[in-house]
Symmetry: C2
Subunit: 553 residues, 2 copies
């Protein structure tokens, strides 16, 4: 790709990762593929569906993500000779050698993927992907597709909830790389947190690959590495007008005045911290945003910041703000803002009115939501562990279920109704009301005509036997063909575009479904025809009258 | 590498992942590196330590893992021209161009890593890694090293707890790929779950790369894809003696006899399930271990299994067992075992005595531990979500702290004593008692002579001001040099060897520290000299008498 990395004009991001190898799957996919092959069933047309059973985090919705990775996986799916030799070594010795020849020729040219677009709001039990193709091939794809969708959708949904908790104004920074599941987990987290509603990341590689804005200034180690002003070099800084100024003397003078203004004890101020701030400001006079709690915010960090920031302002540079990383951030931010105001007035420095306060201290969804309840002056929040590990719910629990073979619907009729599947090849429609909000997703058989705006539609809720009726104002078909005959047929979007799609999909959702606690349940229903099919299969199972039952004939 | 993948003779596994790019880090590492460089401090010798503050999962220990990945990262650490151009685009425009020339020449030839060996039992607050080298370089390594150690150690420790909960006898299968944080998260999980004490994985790529035993047979989709015996092909199976036998007729006859024996209703048996079992057994007569709960264990799956397994036995093949994937596994396993015994006696088939029962249904550490309390017949357990996502505690919280610059100890003196660091370049010794169990890790200054067996040693506990004394029977030095002058100086082990090391390290640990609930706390102490250094620095901070304090002179 010749374009500059991160160039917003890039239609598609760089690949999220190296090619996902087709061996990155569960062994049983191969033993099943072999058994299908041995029985001559491997080419039978089959349809699988991917869905999850509950909206994550006790919420009312999810964001669907991971599609682009799935498409790249399908496009490059093939076994190398080395892959096949390894499979030969782990599959039982009785495996017919012709099966390995078959594997060597496999690709996804016979597979068609229909999917909800990436970044769409989706709900539990809606089949978000439909994978159709030769039985052995679509079976082999299961684990890899689940692996690519599960975490991407989970962390994207988590980010969307953090965004809802933070409100639209506050800037959100993802900084979870060090706590993610390894390098690729960290990259996936950065990408999908951005798509879910974060503004920036600390992860440079994510900026490189996906064009996500990257930010960061300094850690405590930078501050504690300095001990005295003797370490400050160069000691001068050029003013905006080009004059070279002794920056240390200027700052020391201002520090003394700040101490007087704030009635602070000069003796408690940490010289190493001041040295750290000075060197950083000299290096980056337009990007001065230090962490101010290495020793004591009130007795040292805030005073040192004000002195250096006032010196920068005096030279015509614009300091950016401060970062707070421990303790009661709300209380501290109020105090910091008050000091900024005092300095702004006392020193007549208007830039101090717009200094930003960044908070980073183990933010969870609930402490983020607290920011809207407690008085505070935090403009931007950095989130790491709880975002990327999805500590509130660590897995989305996506599943991949067989719904049709050779044109015949297949259904798992479990003793646990939660685990029963819905048979048949389907279409999914989203119905919108007069207010423009979607209010019902209806799952139909693929052969049914789509619901029409302005016309009443009968539908059934799960485990109800009486139909209901509704008249939609608008109807959209939720899934589209995105891959067929070995080709991606879906306009790939870069992270920024997908983020915009996700935000606009969230925007149309009624706020009652977006409440973080106790949201109104969004209705997912089945069509009359599909309900009838489910009932028939269930009845045939309990009546033992079906040819599915052995020895009954 | 010419050796066959997975070959146990391989001294080292294949690389866990593609080279970790040096941009996979937080941006502030670069802004800090620049500020150091600008101040002429980038070459100053510095020492960072990596440790975690609390043992994970409320336990008494952790396993240290991720070292091999760190070594590969250090060995290959360098910036490509493209990396540097990207950095140029994201760092502030005032960044001196000479800094980018400096970056292009950077590598880890000046870095020395001292580390606890991979797979060693470690405890909170023991610095497991010490990274020494030029200040700017060792600062740049922070995020990547944390990312490589954090999750690896967490999931390895989690696996060790599952192993302790399961007891030594039960076979443990890791099968979390689909619930992991993407492909690489899944690979990391498989590798370190094995090292932590699991026996097998479902992840084929993990078998390919690391030689972990890979297992798997069939999913529910395989069972539900069949509807009738007409789909069974071929219908014959060769007996061990070479005779070709009509396997369907043989099995149907046995099924009728099983129904009589167990007083089961033949009409409730699912023909599609029998067809699935038959085709699988015909494909893999020596590896027959079907999932038997697709419809009903008692009314269909178990009966079908027994019929097919008896038919296999009659032909001289040896069926393996069954998998239960839903419901009350303990209760079901008792019932299944009873049926196996009945069949063994009634049909005089001794292989039925050794059939194994595999359980896989959202196992957590606590449901695993329950298996030791409730009567059950489960021989092997598959664990996915709770193992790989470490749902009980999703992050180890490793940190990387500066302890020395230019030979001078550095310490963060936080208002929160938990967040204060321990200064200075150190050595760590593990003291063993007469019973052979380690009982104390003592952190000393590197310049101190090591504690000697049979000689009393004074030590201090954190936040205590009176010394204690102890006489160890044995003393081991916990860390060793593993990387220096650009070379790995540590004998790299493959996964199997590291697993053996981990198990033997766990073996020496006193059971009281291994209790999953309320373990006895293992003592981590500091030497008299180190305690003195900490006290001095703390005193100088509170007395304001140090030159660290500005304006005091």
């Amino acid at each position: 790709m010749a374009a500059v990395p991160g160039d917003p004009r890039l239609a598609v991001d760089r690949s999220l990762r190296e090619r996902v190898p087709p061996l990155l799957t569960d062994l049983y996919q191969f033993t099943m593929a072999y058994a299908y092959w041995r029985a001559g069933r491997h080419q039978e047309p089959a349809v699988f569906e991917l869905f999850f059973r509950d909206n994550p985090f006790g919420g009312g919705f999810s964001l669907f993500a991971g599609l682009q990775d799935c498409l790249q996986f399908l496009r490059s799916f093939h076994f190398t000779d080395e892959d096949v030799e390894f499979l030969r070594s782990v599959l039982p010795p009785v495996t017919d050698p012709a099966f390995f020849t078959f594997l060597k020729c496999l690709d996804c040219s016979g597979v068609t993927l229909r999917s909800v677009p990436e970044g769409t709001v989706v709900f539990a039990r809606v089949p978000v992907m439909e994978v159709a193709g030769p039985l052995a091939v679509v079976q082999l794809l299961e684990t890899s597709l689940l692996c690519l969708v599960n975490y991407a959708s989970l962390v994207c949904s988590n980010a969307a909830r953090f965004r809802l908790a933070a409100g639209p104004r506050r800037r959100l920074l993802e900084m979870g790389l060090r706590r993610a599941q390894g390098p690729d987990g960290g990259l996936t987290a950065s990408r999908y947190s951005y798509i879910g509603g974060f503004d920036m990341t600390s992860n440079v590689q994510a900026g490189f690959l996906f064009g996500i804005p990257v930010v960061g200034t300094m850690a405590h180690s930078y501050v504690t590495s300095f001990t005295s002003l003797e370490e400050v070099w160069p000691q001068t800084l050029n003013a905006a007008n080009g004059d070279q100024v002794d920056f240390i003397s200027l700052t020391k003078g201002l520090l003394a005045r700040v101490c007087v203004l704030l009635k602070a004890e000069a003796g408690k101020i940490h010289e190493g911290e001041l040295a750290a701030f000075l060197t950083y400001a000299i290096a980056y006079p337009h990007n001065f945003l230090p962490v101010i709690d290495s020793y004591s915010v009130d007795c040292s960090g805030l005073l040192n910041f004000c002195a250096v920031a006032l010196a920068l302002s005096e030279l015509g540079h614009r300091p950016v703000g401060v970062r707070l990383d421990s303790g009661d951030l709300c209380r501290q931010s109020l105090n910091v803002r008050q000091v900024f105001k005092l300095c702004s007035e006392h020193f007549s420095v208007s830039t101090f009115d717009s200094l930003i306060i960044v908070g980073t201290n183990s933010f969870s969804e609930s402490t983020m939501a607290d920011l809207n309840k407690k008085e505070n002056e935090i403009d931007a929040v950095g989130v790491g562990t709880h975002l990327v590990t999805c500590s509130k719910q660590t897995s989305l629990g996506c599943v991949y279920k067989l719904v049709e073979v050779r044109g015949r619907p297949r259904m798992k009729v479990s003793e646990d109704p939660e685990k029963s599947t819905v048979p048949g090849k389907k279409a999914v429609y989203r119905l919108l009301g007069t207010d423009g909000h979607p209010f019902l997703d209806v799952v139909c058989l693929a052969v049914e005509p789509p619901p029409k705006p302005g016309q009443p539609l009968s539908y059934y809720l799960r485990e109800e036997d009486t139909s209901r009726s509704v008249t939609p104002t608008q109807v959209t078909c939720l899934r589209q063909e995105v891959f067929t005959k070995g080709q991606v047929t879906y306009p790939l979007c870069n992270a920024k575009e997908t983020r915009a799609n996700a935000q606009s999909s969230l925007q149309t959702l009624d706020p009652k479904h977006k409440r973080l606690q106790d949201p109104d349940v969004y209705t997912v229903a089945v069509s009359e025809k599909l309900h009838k099919l489910v009932s028939e299969i269930q009845r045939s199972c309990t009546n033992n009258s079906s040819t599915n039952f052995l020895l009954s004939n």
